[in-house]
Amino acid sequence: MKKSLMRPTLTIVILIATSLIFGCVFAKPEMYSSFPVTEKSYSGSKKDSTSYTGQMARHVLHNSLKKLAGKGNGKPNSALKAKMLSYYSGKDAGREIIDPTSKGDFKIKQTMVDQISKGKNLKGKTYKGIINGFPGQMTGPEVFEFMIDKASSAKKGFDPLTGYNYPQLISKFMMGAVFYSQAVDNYLDEKLAVDNKPNNKPYKKGKHYTGKEHVWDEAFGYFGAPAHAMALSAKQAYGIAKKKDMKVADANGDGAVDLYTEMTFAHAYYAADSDKTGTKYMHTIVGAFIKGRQLITDANGAALTDQQRAKLMGYAKTIKTNWAKVIAEAAFKYAGSCYKDLEKLRTIVESNGDASKAFAAYGKHWGELKGFLMALETSGRDLGEAGVRMNRLVGFGPVLLGGGQVTGIDSNGNLQTGGNRSMGEYQVHMIKLQKLLGDTFDLKARKNDVTSNMAGLLETLGSSLAAEND
């Protein structure tokens, strides 16, 4: 190289290297916040178009409803039922946040639902289709109203006659029938159509955000991740939901956790739970949300071109696929828990011990399993044969110690049990369910995998293919 060329080349190399080093060290992690106002018709003073308060209010309503569902004393309780309904279907002002609330050093900013968003409920956003996985051929809202009624009269939300744990059933199904369903079957589906909530018009007259901006924000809100999720490890995001890590939760350092932007809720929590074992669901989903929102912002208030919309649909697909995996991973994990619970129950029963505690744990895990499976039914995507098999393997209730299982609902609205299925057979169902979920959703975390070590053992034996003679 000529001497005259060496100096400028060296300078360029040093400049590039320096900027790369600084870029890596000081790069601000991406956040789902502070997207500028691009809506042309807006003339107000707001600078940030990001808005998903309604979704976060619903997360708080859901958390609170779950807490209430475990407050029953075993007798019909109309006051409790009315309170639960006010969180599910009411829109009344003055509803306090029952969960999450401050715990020790973990200070939470809001104490009332209205401080996040006013006049919100869960029923209006519940999936309206028939839920095949639950007895009675009821629609989504009917299932919740039925479960709320039963929960209000069950002791701590648990019915030992059916094995139903209502706080778990309500919570896990609600995450699907409201949050997941709204996001993947509404906002990331029909509302991404060209003429539906276009980007060159405000979402509603006078609003400071465009149609597509708000549609995307609402979907993000339902996922339940904190705005700074990309800067968090799976363990940290998980710890926030458990109210364990004030320092990482309080992103703006104001001394309180803002439930609107700093809390981990619902499926974001389960994504983080899976990610602790090495998957990347939370960052994949939140990353796609941020990229999608940036794409919409970059359109600068103009209608999206076909190319932009196609790219946005690509991000939506990433979100939908991985979100479904998060739910399926959770169902997989609890199928494994139920399998283990059945093993424990068998040991206790054989030694004539007190099985009540182990049975309650089994009911809890089954409620989570069932809730997550019912959630998978609400995506608007028919799971076909896999869906039918999942429902048949799990049935309408956990197999009880006497071999019975919930079979349906009678004309008085009471759950009926019957049949005589062995616990060993039900364990086989749990194994088959894990295999089905693993294959259908291509799962990777596979927590509580009953047969993983058997598969590992088979691996050590080498290939069974043999073209070698004796």
Binding site: L461, L465, A467, E468, N469
Partner: protein, 326 residues
Amino acid sequence: MQLWIGEWLPAFFNPQKRIFWGYLLSSLVIALLWLRLVDKTTIFSSAKRIFDRQVWISRSAMADYKVMLINTMLMLLVSPKILAKATVAYLVFDSMHMLFDGRPYISSILPQWFIAFSFTLFLFLLDDFARYWLHRWLHKVPILWSFHKVHHSATVLNPFTVFRTHPVEAILFSIRSALVQGITAAVFFFFFGDQVTLMMVLGASIFTFAFNLLGSNLRHSPVSVRYWKTLELILMSPAQHHIHHSTAKEHIDKNFGVALSVWDWMFGSLSLSKNEDQLRFGLSGEQSFDYHSLKGLYLVPFQQAAGLFLRLFSRIPLSIYQKHSA
């Protein structure tokens, strides 16, 4: 071509395979020691016998190599269709739950090493037992013999003769392995859970390792290593396997075992080795086909099996007719 080489070449470096370089080397050392110390031959004539052109580049040997390469390709194509050990294991594991109505753990009673040893030993015994019986049927059932003949058509034996196998046999061997591995893994995992492990040396079961290290490749070789009589009742010596390949009338259908000869002893097919002249290998009285050609190796067995099948089929209506007319 790359895929092809990529499939069989790793066998030389895989201690789970008989032609792993370490086992070939140990067999060579044993052969040299045997020829020097027992047969009292010179080093030169020992080497001449082991590396004889006939053994390595005869038509029979070349046919072995051809079959090895072609079968690798065929197995790649058919392997997704063959019963998988995981399928067997899942089925057995599920069935055990039904049989015992749940899963009775007995793991806490026994120490880990004992469970691992029991598993490794059981797998070895069941595998060897299954090999004995399948091998026996391959000889005794005429249709199966049509295919197993390919292996016995080798007129000289070298370690690669182990691959001289008709694809139909390869499928049967794979099913056998899937059943043995799937059943053993599932049953042990059912009772002992995560405590079950395979005792291994260099990634191979300790028994497979020992069998191969102690000269398994000499089973197909020009060197007839014999054991003393009592040991030959339990372990199959290379010389006993040479008897299995011999064309002599008294050697027909003897020594079906692989690592253990105890099965032959138990089921009346054992023949102990003798210090006798070099045996003749191959098929006796079946010289009408060229078994070293591709046609002989791959197509003739199908023709013969089809002929036997048709003959069997034509007998059925005949017997029905006879019954009716009686």
